[in-house]
């Protein structure tokens, strides 16, 4: 068993920042990550990091914009923390050498971004995330922080008191991908989950193949509530064959969307008569899908984004990297042909419920980054707000876990503040399939009896995981997970996409149920202990199923149209009934739905919900 003060799971922007922060506090910290740190998907972020750095800008403005962008579903304490801490964190990055783009006077550049009242998006060319990730990894090397890379975290070692609020987390169980050994990691002071996004729940996403939402699923099954899962952001212009993102800049420069008939549908079918292609992400995404659904899509799949009329000179000057992206990943030369594009999953606003210090309701368990939901983004994330979230809340979680004295959090976690029970009418029973013999492969929640001492608890969790792995490997001729995974992904893309209607959501739940049943027969054909990706993907598929279900349950429950969540039957934002967060707790194998109110009370003002219009 490995032992450290703080264990950070995941080495993207959030994980790296958390580890550095914990070390700043003097803790012995280690990172456990299924990918080598520089392979994390934070590297893919292009746009930039929002921070109020300049004269004329203020954290209050940043907070206001964020709250408005969230469609009033963000919690003010979290949003204000983000806005207050991000300038310092961004300057910190600069002092660590990050290669930001520069102004004439040598200061870091900032640019305007959608939904922001001030150009406060600090950037490094079209590769901000890459620079951020590498700069932070460099600091890790400098500090000599230990990294267990290519170690997959399978489970959390959480005690099993009846109420999640009474539980505590003492470590994790890791699997060394290279050698196949399973070992416990005991964390004396805390475990920080920073496992990133869950885009693989959908079959078309800008996220990496490794973004399977492991952290969210593990925490969920350990009893930690997950929040606002129904809010998924879709990006309207991604390449159909890979999901690679084509920046909004193309439309910003004057790129035009055409359907199969060559019609400029944004205008001709009245999706956005004023803004056309420049309408907001969700509007454009829905327009594109409507075209495809009504038979005017190309190959019944995508639409065309044409920028040829801008002229080669202008394209090369301003959008050069788009030419490469389109050629490399789609085999299309955008100077010769229009680019095929379609909407793709991009970001999960929801995640593990935390307070503004990154702590969950289970003591000693923290979460930060895309896997967490302190509720900064509410129902819709503004561009450039995820990267500051990583460093701000990564740092806070790290400091807190390592014992820094911090202000008491204002956001209650678990069922500690106001909460109300929820109910949703599902066509099939969600949650575990009882009696399918899936046994340990689908074990839930609290790892071991609460009277165990922490070491034994981690040991127990490790043994249990070992049994689960062995049983997967034993079932050599079981079903291949890939088929199950793609069925779930397809169903999600069909029914829980930018368009959501009751019947479709129900169908998705049925499909997920079917997938669960099939998953009970899953097995791993590859019998090797060396780098067994078959095994890992099989485990990930389980996480995908759980999260797909959570997203769908949330989407079915929330009967309004807010932010990224569109419901056919409910076309209005309903502040009367729905200014509240959706939470799901995994209770003995079945999801329990409940709600908690949104906190709109800020430090020195209350944010009054206004109509979102841009």
């Amino acid at each position: 068993m490995h032992e450290h003060d703080v264990i950070v799971v995941g080495a993207g922007g959030a994980g790296l920042r958390a580890a550095i922060a914990a070390q700043e506090e003097g803790a012995d910290v280690a990172i456990v990550s299924k990918l080598h740190p520089v392979r994390s998907h934070t590297g893919a972020a292009e746009g930039g990091i929002n921070a109020a750095l300049r004269e004329g800008d203020s954290w209050q403005d940043h907070a206001y914009d964020t709250m408005k962008g969230s469609d009033y579903l963000g919690d003010a304490p979290a949003i204000e923390t983000l806005a207050q801490d991000s300038p310092e964190e961004v300057i910190q990055l600069e002092h660590w050498g990050m290669a930001f783009s520069r102004e004439e006077d040598g200061r870091v550049s900032q640019r305007p971004f959608g939904g922001l009242s001030f150009p406060r998006t600090t950037y490094a060319g079209a590769e901000t995330g890459h620079q951020l990730l590498h700069t932070m990894y460099e600091q890790l090397v400098k500090r000599g922080i230990e990294v267990y890379d290519e170690w997959y975290v399978l489970d959390l070692a959480v005690s099993d008191e009846p109420e999640p609020e009474d539980r505590s987390c003492h470590g994790v169980v890791g699997y060394d991908i290279q050698s196949g050994t399973i070992e416990g990691f005991r964390a004396r002071d805390g475990v920080i989950l920073a496992t990133g996004g869950l885009g693989q729940v959908y079959d078309h996403t800008t996220n990496a193949v490794a973004n399977t939402g492991d952290g969210v699923a593990m925490a969920y099954r350990a009893g930690v509530p997950i929040e606002d899962m129904e809010f998924i952001q879709f990006h309207p212009t991604t390449l159909p064959s890979t999901g690679v993102l084509i920046t909004e800049g193309v439309r910003g420069e004057g790129g035009i969307l055409y359907n199969e008939e060559g019609e400029r549908f944004m205008f001709e079918y009245g999706y956005a008569n004023n803004d056309g292609e420049l309408a907001s992400r969700d509007v454009v995404s829905r327009a594109e899908l409507t075209e495809v659904n009504e038979g005017r899509g190309i190959e019944d799949e995508y639409v065309h984004l044409d920028m040829r009329h801008l002229g080669e000179e202008r394209i090369v000057d301003r959008l050069e990297n788009i030419i490469h992206l389109s050629e490399d990943f789609e085999g299309v030369d955008p100077l010769e042909e229009p680019m095929p594009v379609k909407p793709g999953q991009h970001y999960a606003m929801g995640g593990i419920e935390t307070d503004e210090n990154g702590e969950t309701c289970v003591s000693g368990l923290y979460a930060a980054g895309e896997c967490a939901c302190a509720s900064v983004h509410g129902s819709n994330r503004l561009g450039g707000n995820a990267l500051p979230e990583l460093i701000v809340f990564g740092a806070r979680a790290g400091h807190h876990a390592a014992g820094r004295d911090m202000k008491e959090a204002e956001i209650p976690t678990g069922k500690r503040g106001d909460w109300e029970a929820g109910d949703v009418d599902t066509p099939v029973e969600p949650g575990d399939v009882p009696g399918t013999g899936a046994g340990d492969a689908v074990a839930d929640g609290g790892a071991a009896a609460s009277d165990l001492d922490p070491d034994e608890l981690v040991q127990r969790a490790t043994e249990r995981t070992q049994v689960r792995i062995e049983s997967l490997l034993d079932n050599e001729d079981g079903r291949n997970h890939a088929e199950i995974r793609s069925e779930v992904q397809e169903s999600m893309t069909q029914h829980v996409n930018v368009f959501r209607e009751k019947e479709g959501l129900k169908q998705a739940l049925r499909d997920i149920r079917e997938a669960r049943e099939k998953y009970a027969e899953v097995g791993v054909a590859d019998q090797s202990r060396t780098f067994n990706t078959d095994l890992l993907h099989t485990i990930e598929t389980r996480n995908i199923i759980d999260l797909a279900e959570a997203i769908t349950l949330g989407a079915l429950a929330r009967e309004e149209f807010r932010g990224a969540h569109w419901r056919k039957e409910h076309q209005e934002r309903d502040d009367e009934n729905w200014l509240k967060h959706t939470l799901l707790s995994w209770n003995g194998g079945s999801p329990e739905l409940w709600f908690k109110p949104v906190i709109l009370e800020g430090e020195d003002k209350r944010y009054e919900p206004k109509i979102r219009s841009y």
Partner: protein, 296 residues
């Protein structure tokens, strides 16, 4: 290992055992036979389909090796026929082959957009990122091997430890003695200087360059193009100051530093991020010489 289960059956031949088998095992075997039959049918169907439109499939020859699995201990090449779709990359084809034909086919990949650097492989004789390589640009059969000059872990996965060691040997982190005093005050950097280091900051640690370099292949201690480029990124950053530059050049000037480079250019040719590696290394050599001249 769950011991309650009947002894695992290794292959079909044990089905002829004379001893009566427990019912569960018999069922299991039956299931297995059915599966095998189904797989065979599927394979035949696929074969038939393939014959129909041969143009629309791509023929991959993929290196296979697994130190633990009987049939794979001896390295071999497996053939896969993958239906082609417009825009398909080598990585897409590998994923298709894995998900459809053989789930034990092993390779690293994650971002699918040339930013995580996990899937550098040896494709048709040169180091490439699979996710950034269009199948249609390649001649058939497409031969896919793990990166040369690196220990193979399994199939297309190589051990990157050595590469990481070299990257980390050049003090790959920003160091400076003069940070500005003011709160929220950044260090100034001229645009020219940022332009100068820009390309060098694009490295995604894929290891393609290192694998392509003959010198690195022959000399384990040679820092290699990627690490030298990493060093370049800091040495040339004006924010670090003269003193640091001195310290950095001392690292680079070691015997297995810049002088090992024989300007073979293959690193530059394979780099998926188009980093002018040779140029950077050469510039460092000149810097080092200039630096030495000062002491004469």
């Amino acid at each position: 290992m769950s011991t309650q289960l009947p002894e695992q059956v290794d292959d079909e031949s044990s089905a002829d055992e004379v001893e009566p088998q427990p019912e569960a095992q018999e069922r299991r075997l039956q299931k297995k036979r059915d599966r095998a039959a189904e797989q065979e049918r599927q394979r035949q169907a696929e074969e038939a389909e393939k014959a129909l439109d041969d143009e629309d499939t791509y023929h991959l020859k993929v290196f296979r090796y697994d130190p633990e699995i009987a049939g794979k201990k001896e390295p071999r090449f497996d053939d896969f026929h993958v239906p082609f779709e417009k825009g398909m990359t080598v990585l897409d084809a590998l994923m298709y082959a894995r998900d459809t034909y053989d789930s034990s086919l092993t390779f690293r990949h994650s971002c699918r957009q040339a930013i995580c650097g996990s899937d550098a492989m040896f494709v048709n004789g040169s180091q490439r990122l699979c996710c950034k390589t269009q199948l249609s640009d390649l001649e058939e059969p497409v031969r896919i091997e793990p990166l040369p000059h690196a220990e193979v872990v399994k199939d297309l996965v190589v051990d990157m430890e050595h590469f990481y060691d070299q990257m980390e040997a050049v003090e790959p982190y920003f160091q400076t003695n003069d940070l500005p005093d003011g709160e929220l005050e950044e260090q100034r950097q001229s645009r020219e200087n940022r332009e100068k280091v820009k390309m060098s900051t694009r490295c995604i640690w894929c290891g393609a360059c290192m694998s392509s370099c003959n010198i690195a292949a022959g000399d384990n201690q040679y820092l290699g193009p990627a690490a030298l480029n990493k060093a370049y990124r800091f040495t040339m950053d004006e924010r670090e100051g003269e003193e640091m530059k001195q310290q950095r050049l001392e690292i680079l000037e070691q015997e297995h530093g810049v002088w090992r480079c024989q300007t073979q250019f293959s690193c530059t040719e394979v780099c998926p991020k188009d980093i002018p590696l040779t140029e950077h290394i050469q510039e460092l050599k000149r810097e080092a010489v200039k630096n030495n001249l000062k002491f004469w």
